[in-house]
């Protein structure tokens, strides 16, 4: 593969997922990554809003999101809600 050619999406997705597992800012394995049309779309649920932003930052660096030839990062990660009071399940 020539260094001048764009990296195929299949490899980019795995590079992003590996980075999210290993980068100290992220350490997250539960992010779904899709690459299409020059965009990287992140979906899933994380523990905190800071974690959500940190993951976006790690991916942005990896795909040169600020550069014209880079990928746009669409961070659609959700943050877990700390609400309680759901139904009780009775185990008969």
């Amino acid at each position: 593969m020539s260094p001048d050619r764009p990296i195929p999406p299949e490899y980019l997705i795995t590079h992003i997922q590996q980075a999210l597992g290993q980068d100290p800012r992220a350490r997250e394995l539960g992010v779904d990554v899709a690459v299409a049309g020059g965009r990287v779309v992140l979906t899933g649920t994380v523990a905190t809003s800071a974690q959500r932003l940190a993951i976006g930052e790690v991916v942005c660096e990896l795909v040169d999101c600020e550069a014209p030839e880079g990928h746009e990062v669409v961070n659609e990660l959700a943050v877990v809600e700390a609400r309680e009071g759901g139904p009780v399940e009775e185990l008969a």
């Binding site: 539960g30 899933g44 905190t48 809600e81 700390a82 609400r83 309680e84 759901g86 009780v88 185990l91």
Partner: protein
């Protein structure tokens, strides 16, 4: 009546202080114990353990937990366990604990982290490369610990507390290709051999909440992203359990 609260995959990190505590505010009024199905922390550091203890400070009922894969990431799990136990959390690893409830009933909890390997017809075998054998044998060891721990319990009700999944059904929603990294049938076989009323696990954030083992034991994936709230509550009837499985699995009534 015995009520057990459960959650998994809370992934406490340095930025988590104050985030979880509000969701546990009324837990002590709603349940007799809190079970945490692994991935207590993001990287498995003692510092994250201390933050978790702060989030659990308002919980006045026994807290029982197993480690998850995130909790062993920094290879400091011994320190993490020491911090949590010092803070009053009962950590299980092939061991058991008994919760005695207000009505005199008892619930025994047997816990292991578990590991992967896959499910019937599509699972790893201890064959070939040394690392492949070690991978499978790790799960065999975890399953054996779970079976022995469950068998040792003589309580009204028995719960298997895991991080990895014992069945495929509660992984539905995850990509099929990664199922072998999310759980193993060996864990279900251990549960069914020893007998239990309920098996709880986490790990599969995109999975499904409900399932049943081949032997009929109820399984619940309580990973926080799956349940979408701070914890679930399970209520056991007062009658003594014989560990027998419900005939059809999904007989639980939700009210």
């Amino acid at each position: 009546m015995t009520r057990i609260a459960a959650v998994g995959d809370i992934h406490v990190g340095p930025d988590s202080a104050g985030k979880l505590a509000p969701g546990f505010r009324h837990l002590s009024e709603r349940a007799d114990a809190l079970l945490i199905a692994g991935d207590l922390t993001r990287r498995g550091t003692p510092h994250e353990g201390e933050i978790l203890l702060g989030e659990l400070a308002g919980v006045d009922v026994p807290i029982i937990a197993v480690l998850g894969n995130h909790d062993v990431e920094s290879d400091r799990q011994d320190e993490l366990v020491a911090v949590l136990e010092e803070g009053g959390v009962t950590m299980l690893d092939g061991t058991t604990t008994v919760v005695t409830c207000a009505d005199g009933g008892s619930v025994g909890v047997a816990g292991v982290k578990g590991f992967g390997g896959g499910f019937a017809g599509a699972c790893g075998t201890a064959f070939g490369e040394r690392v492949m054998k070690e991978f499978v044998r790790e799960t065999e060891r975890e399953a054996a610990k779970l079976k022995d721990a469950l068998t040792s319990l003589e309580t009204d009700h028995r719960i298997a507390l895991l991080h990895f999944s014992p069945i495929e059904a509660t992984l539905a929603g995850e990509r099929l290709e990664i199922f072998p990294f999310l759980g193993s049938y060996l864990l279900a076989e251990a549960v069914d051999t020893a007998g239990a009323d309920l098996a709880l696990h986490g790990h599969a954030h995109h999975g499904s909440e409900r399932g049943v083992t081949p032997g009929g034991t109820r399984v619940r994936n309580v990973a926080q992203p799956v349940i979408g709230e701070s914890y679930r509550v399970y209520e056991f009837a007062a009658a003594r359990s014989n560990g027998a499985a419900p005939a059809t699995g999904e007989v639980a009534a939700v009210h």
